[in-house]
Symmetry: C2
Subunit: 478 residues, 2 copies
């Protein structure tokens, strides 16, 4: 390794450790030359390399500064939050999004390889009460002569809407059934919400890292995503968001306050309230993705942004896909003051949601087996999260950190800085193991040394062996 | 009533009852004069009236014949008859579209009123083989432990794709299974096709009148529709389209060459070829809506634009919703050179199409009951088209004309010019009858004196009474 490379690595590590914070100026070339006892030329070389890596940037007449993105990408993850609770601030430069190609090819590999599905974004369907749901679907098929499409046109089947409203009420989150619009999974709910509040060319604030479906929705509609620093425990950095808002026009803010994918945090009530108030003060709609709402590890269902919304500016999106059945594709939106637009957009986008799945789920929900199923699911996920965390720390290279999910079924893993998770992804795939490469969670090249792991599948000796293999591959790459 | 009118009505009724079959020669003028005991002049008058109604036609040196297949509609063609064969030419000024509000409220009235569904855009579901389809769905539910969402991700369930390709091949329209992308009904296929080839602000050429879902798709994506004169028998006016193309940039052309909704025409092979060639010469993609492909009244399935496409510029969209099951919401696209974009857009829009409906339809199609079902459906629709046409001409005010659908299940009715079909719509609704007001088929105030009627429902005394009421209301408004 050349001298300038050593110097670059040293500075990188310092940034990673929080020695240099985001936006902070680092030593001038002359000063660094003296400090490190190397030539000016070596420092210039090292700084150029750091610039090319995106760790620092030079500003005319000012010197060299640690890039916000770099700091965030290198920021400590929750399990090792000791290194500072400060969330990193990515540079507030809107970026057009093109992540979906990577995601699609990842999903395709998962399908093609019959692989150990650590990389899957979906929960293990075998834990779902498919037998009972199918029974209801079959009963409907026998009961009804045929389906009149018109009955369940948007906003959707009235009984399903009533059951969804009932669940919210039982969880202390009263909603008006008249506000609910049934959609084809939360994917459609989020897409339609975006279209209801923003138009092509508009800028939408998102968490960083963020669930890539959100980036997709933005990409597809020709909007621009601006990534806002997001803390692995506290959630989106409200001060950073305020700054972004003060600097430019933001059409909407998309967030996942409960069990964010991939970080797994659950925003506190206080922070949720602050976020809603900040956005309300600027009349900015909030699109809340709450698909993991039922998968909490605590004692009760957490609040939502909707809980604190007094102006109808929160468009709350959710589905049964993560907790009951993914293949039925039933989601919904509570679009606040955008109710009429959303219903119309649903009609335009897919006309209506299939009837039998709507009615089957309404029947299932009426029979009260859902809570028992969910209690079981939460227990299993909590347990498997804990097993996987422990084994990742055991099998993976020194310096690996893991998130502390408060719900959901994914673990966010930070590998040593030098690890290229795309290479790890490829090497793992050759051994029949999938992982979610970190690059899928940002519009930029951030999170290159992160991976997301799915722990919803039963913890078997095969799974453990696969995780061990993964750890060995990562160690070899470090 | 004049003597010649009585004679004309008598012959009309005979045709309606099947006394005279399509294509059959009726009595010569001299012979009829003798048979009915009226003057030659009266017979000539009566035959002229029948000609103008489209019930008979005179063939030089041969006599008078009951108009064949198309003539079951009992009239030449609305709007065209008076002005000869000239198609009405709407001014080629692009218009932003806002038709969906009217359509949604129409659908809602249909649902709310449990009304006679002449206004419904959907086929009567009771004619569909729901029992058999449900059996397949139930068998799947028993067979599979659970569904892994990933199996049927875009492009869709492989076996369903194979079955769809097989049907095309059997109908002499070979397609590459690798080109097919499964969607949530044709609605999604059309939406995604539009997004694949055009962007907000672009102009899209459509038929006039056109199926309002096409106007919706355009409206929603912030594009502009330019309406091109469309002949009730020949289809879109290719010369008019060529002029539009020469004057301005057209991003795409959306058409329904087979059994267009609402006009019911089927473009000839020659015109289809001309249309494809015109568009190809300008590299303009054609979005072909072929949802009625199986509902032909002739002997064989008509060709498609795809048949004549050599450059991959045709995006062919279809579904099972009009011929097999609407509530399963299974459609597809054959997007030509836009295959990759379309698959990606499908993923972004709704992630995937529900699995069980995909597999159930694949199983159903494999078992070969579809053709028998379709033969029955076509016979019923053809018969009911004929009955409704005859009765519209009997019950509705003088001067009313009806289309001659070559397939599908809707009749396009031109009322006397002074009739306001929105007023008729309202008055009918108060009596529990729905109609499709003509305004829904254009972005402008055209077709104000037109209505669309659905003849897919069983022809009952109640339906006949409702049609009579409708005719009386229309007569009163004239």
């Amino acid at each position: 390794m050349k001298l300038y490379e050593e110097l670059a690595d040293e500075i990188t590590e310092a940034v990673r450790r929080g020695v240099f914070a985001a936006g902070e100026r680092i030593a001038s070339v002359r000063r660094a030359s003296q400090q490190h006892g190397v030539s000016i030329k070596t420092v210039l070389h090292a700084y150029a390399l750091l610039e090319s890596r995106g760790i620092i940037e030079s500003r005319p007449q000012s010197g060299y500064f640690v890039r916000d993105a770099a700091a965030r990408a290198l920021a400590p993850v929750p399990a090792a939050a000791g290194a500072g609770r400060k969330s990193a601030a990515p540079p507030p430069v809107p970026a057009t999004v093109d992540v979906s190609r990577l995601v699609l090819s990842t999903l395709r590999s998962i399908r093609a390889h019959d692989a150990v599905p650590f990389g899957s974004p979906y929960p293990d369907p075998s834990l779902f009460p498919w037998r009972r749901i199918n029974q209801y679907a079959n009963a409907i098929a026998r009961r009804h002569a045929s389906w009149n499409l018109i009955d369940d046109l948007p906003p959707g089947n009235p009984e399903l809407i009533r059951q969804i409203a009932r669940r919210y009420a039982e969880n202390g989150l009263p909603v008006d059934p008249g506000e609910i619009v049934i959609t084809l999974g939360a994917t459609e709910a989020i897409n339609l919400s975006l279209q209801a509040v923003a138009k092509p060319g508009d800028t939408v604030a998102v968490e960083s890292p963020t669930y890539y479906a959100m980036l997709h929705a933005i990409e597809r509609l020709g909007m621009r995503a601006i990534e806002v620093a997001t803390h692995p425990v506290d959630g989106i950095d409200i001060d950073a968001l305020a700054k972004v808002i003060s600097r430019q026009k933001i059409a909407a803010c998309m967030v996942m306050p409960n069990f964010q994918n991939p970080l797994g945090f659950c925003m506190s009530d206080e922070r949720k309230r602050q976020l809603v108030e900040l956005l309300a003060a600027h009349e900015i709609p909030a699109i809340e993705n709450d698909v993991y709402q039922e998968l909490y590890f605590g004692d009760t269902r957490p609040s939502t942004l909707k809980t604190f919304d007094t102006k109808g500016l929160v468009l709350h999106c959710a589905s049964f896909s993560k907790s009951l059945t993914a293949s039925y594709r039933i989601g919904w939106a509570l679009p606040g003051r955008y109710r009429a637009q959303l219903e119309k957009l649903k009609f335009l986008n897919t006309l209506t949601t299939p009837s039998v799945p709507q009615v089957a789920l309404a029947d299932y929900l009426r029979q009260d087996g859902y809570d028992r199923h969910l209690r079981h699911l939460r227990r299993v996920y909590r347990q498997q999260a804990s097993i996987m965390s422990a084994l990742v720390l055991r099998f993976f290279p020194v310096g690996t950190r893991v998130s502390s999910p408060r719900g959901g079924y994914v673990l966010w893993v930070e590998l040593p800085l030098a690890t290229d998770s795309m290479r790890l992804y490829q090497a793992a795939l050759e051994r029949g193991i999938t992982v979610g490469p970190g690059m899928m969670f940002s519009t930029r090249n951030d999170f290159r040394h992160f991976i997301r792991l799915n722990y919803s599948y039963p913890w078997t000796p095969q799974a453990e062996a696969a995780l061990k293999t993964l750890g060995e591959l990562a160690t070899r790459m470090t």
